[in-house]
């Protein structure tokens, strides 16, 4: 497949893809803002999946509580850019007489930093744990954060409990409020489309970071840890620091996308950060192709956008089954079936990493038959 995409074709392909991505919201916008919202949500999920891919895909640490970092970012933005804190704490109101509306340039780094710190805090006690223990501890961490968000309205009201935070500011960007439509050459660009461009820029930036990370010393060290921690250690890799770094970096992505989510929705509540959400992000990464950037992006877009699109098409079906099979249920059913069927057909994901470098492709005779490889892998796992 790589043969026909030579350098020139590739350039044309990238140019076409870029133009398509740029005009996508303008087209979708004609069909109603709801369609652009789907694209926005998909981009946010791509961002989350890219972050989780660092932890699960590169470093091989199964994190089932990733949504906690998303929640931390979202709540931090919500608290620092909504009337909630000034309403409930007179001393904060006294400090900020115009209300608490911190600019983006403070809130986003703060969200990234806070989430990163939490990531390292979570990582530190779990360093010694092996795969499945890690899964359950991270899962527990996600639940702990959610329960605290749900209950921290007493004795002092910090998170407003299950009601969530309201009236969160939209993003202001060089005196430009993304919450309002923009008129450009007589063409109106809706607020959701503006968010689309912001998220797209963030996604591209993140892809760049991930791409560079993957090929850096750090990325290669992560993959060495993933493949064999002991061997990695023997090669002089500081596994402790690198694992913590993976947790921290992954969490940072979660924190940033969380704050974007809060600004985009203007509302956050603990309900958005359930375990199911974490599980969905893991599913996106694994379904797409773990550790492989195009695969991860594909997985995120498929699992987030397709079911939403379905919601609009499922109306007739709902009438046919007199309400029993409504769009939400159908969506859940399809996600479940997709997870099972895709994994059964392609256990390494829809678009997996190409097999171990190019040397194997050049000398096919030297490669042992696939069954033998599987046998060795199985016996290796069993010992």
């Amino acid at each position: 497949m790589m043969n026909f995409i030579n350098r020139q074709n590739r350039f044309v392909l990238i140019a076409i893809a870029a133009i398509a991505l740029l005009i996508l919201p303008l087209i979708l916008q004609q069909g109603g803002n709801a369609w652009v919202r789907i694209a926005d949500a998909a981009l946010l999920y791509v961002l989350l999946a890219l972050g989780l891919n660092i932890v699960v895909g590169y470093a091989g640490l199964l994190d089932l509580g990733y949504v906690a970092f998303y929640a931390i970012g979202a709540y931090l933005f919500g608290l620092l850019a909504s009337p909630h804190l000034t309403d409930h704490f007179p001393w904060i109101a006294a400090m900020f007489p115009q209300g608490l509306h911190l600019p983006l340039w403070i809130v986003i780094p703060a969200a990234a930093a806070l989430a990163g710190i939490f990531g390292i805090l979570l990582g530190a006690p779990t360093l010694k744990l092996r795969g499945d223990y890690l899964a359950i501890v991270t899962l527990g961490f996600g639940e702990i954060i959610r329960v605290f968000l749900n209950n921290l309205d007493q004795p002092v009201n910090i998170t407003n409990g299950p009601k969530g935070l309201n009236q969160i500011d939209s993003i202001h960007f060089f005196n430009q409020n993304l919450g309002r439509p923009v008129e450009l050459f007589g063409f109106e660009i809706a607020s959701v489309s503006l968010y689309y461009y912001l998220f797209l820029a963030l996604v591209l930036f993140s892809v760049l970071i991930c791409f560079r990370l993957e090929r850096s010393r750090i990325g290669r060290a992560w993959m060495a840890i993933r493949e064999d921690e002991i061997a990695a250690k023997a090669m002089g890799i500081n596994t402790r620091n690198l694992k913590l770094l993976a947790f921290g970096m992954g969490a940072t992505f979660g924190g940033v996308s969380g704050s974007m989510f809060a600004a985009f929705q203007n509302f956050v509540s603990p309900e958005s950060f359930s375990l199911m959400e974490s599980v969905m992000i893991v599913a996106m990464v694994v379904l797409g192709g773990i550790g492989h950037l195009p695969g991860v992006i594909l997985g995120a877009v498929l699992l987030s956008a397709l079911p939403e699109v379905l919601r609009y098409v499922a109306g007739p079906l709902q009438q046919m089954t007199d309400g029993r099979l409504d769009s939400a249920i159908l969506r859940q059913l399809l996600i479940a079936l997709a997870m099972i069927i895709v994994m059964l057909m392609r256990p390494r994901g829809l678009w997996p990493t190409p097999d171990h470098g190019k040397s194997l492709q050049q000398k096919p005779a030297a490669v042992p038959p696939p069954e033998a490889v599987v046998e060795v892998a199985a016996s290796g796992a069993a010992h």
Partner: protein
């Protein structure tokens, strides 16, 4: 003092249900190294099936004694859940035997979601009252109260656990299971059929989960399609707490977790002066687990497994 005794009784009941569910997790994990995410939902299917059967029986033969109805419903739903779990393993896990480790985990999560959705379509999403079939008159033990249902739970759990221990330690199947858990390839060389053992494990796990599910439903009095999630999660925590793959560990872990949760949520308000309430009870399990695993990474009774290259 009465409060403490009451919390201990509640904790034991909760813990014995966790122990039953945790056994299913730990057996499956011990043999195929998979966190069977759908286990809690098998429990849910068992409980919902028994509910449907009891409702049908109450309509068609109202004269039947309550305990008999419960027993019949329990037996039928055990069979249903066993067949279901057997099929799940055949369809969703077995083909992925030699795949990357995360693949069966994702199909397990998918199965869990699928079972919940199907149950929602078939049984409707509302909470359904689970009929009380045993006499409701409570007994008093030293100031604490215990109902007939709760006594039944303790009894049934004790019997199931004893039967499990016998099965695993003293029967041919049990020996085959232990051998497969230790090393599937060598076990196969010794004439054990790993596929049969795996299927048997899933069937036994489903039966235990169904028993726990029916107990859970009779204790709390409601059934719903999401009911399996939280007990499943806690039971898995219990299995890890006790040392995953270790049967005695699952039982000890389950009962301890039940006790910690019940006593903890009973006293947290007093200890923190009302700052934290019993609405935090769901996170005790995880906090204890995190502390535990930091101090002893292989669980209470887990063997220290050295990392192997």
């Amino acid at each position: 003092m009465e409060i403490l005794l009451q919390q201990i009784i509640n904790g034991l009941i909760l813990g014995s249900m966790y122990a039953l569910i945790a056994l299913g997790y730990t057996m499956v994990y011990g043999i195929i190294n998979l966190i069977n995410f759908a286990h809690g939902d098998v429990l849910m299917v068992g409980a919902l099936t028994s509910w449907a059967i009891i409702i049908k029986m109450q309509e068609s033969m109202p004269g039947m004694p309550g305990w008999l109805m419960l027993l019949v419903a329990l037996l039928i739903s055990c069979v249903v859940a066993a067949v279901l779990n057997f099929t799940i393993e055949k369809v969703a896990y077995r083909p992925l035997h030699n795949s990357p480790k995360l693949a069966p985990l994702i199909t397990a999560i998918g199965m869990s979601l699928l079972l919940q959705t199907l149950a929602m379509i078939i049984f409707k999403p509302n909470y359904k009252p689970y009929p009380t079939l045993l006499p409701v008159k409570p007994f008093e033990v030293g100031g604490a109260v215990i109902t007939t249902t709760q006594i039944m739970i303790l009894g049934v759990t004790a019997i199931s656990l004893a039967a499990m221990m016998y099965l695993v330690n003293y029967t041919k199947l049990g020996r085959a299971m232990r051998a497969t858990a230790e090393n599937p390839r060598v076990a196969a060389l010794m004439g054990v059929k790993p596929d049969f053992v795996i299927s048997a494990t899933f069937v036994i796990g489903a039966v235990l989960a169904t028993i726990a599910g029916v107990m859970y439903a009779s204790n709390y009095g409601t059934v719903q399609h999401t009911m399996g999630f939280l007990p499943g999660l806690k039971a898995f925590t219990a299995a890890v707490f006790g040392g995953i793959g270790n049967l005695a560990g699952a039982v000890v872990g389950g009962i301890l977790l039940g006790l910690i949760e019940s006593i903890g949520s009973g006293y947290i308000g007093v200890v923190t002066g009302g700052v934290l309430g019993s609405n935090y009870s769901d996170i005790f399990a995880f906090i204890v687990l995190i502390i535990m695993l930091t101090l002893r990474p292989s669980g209470l009774l887990g063997e220290r497994v050295a990392d192997r290259a």
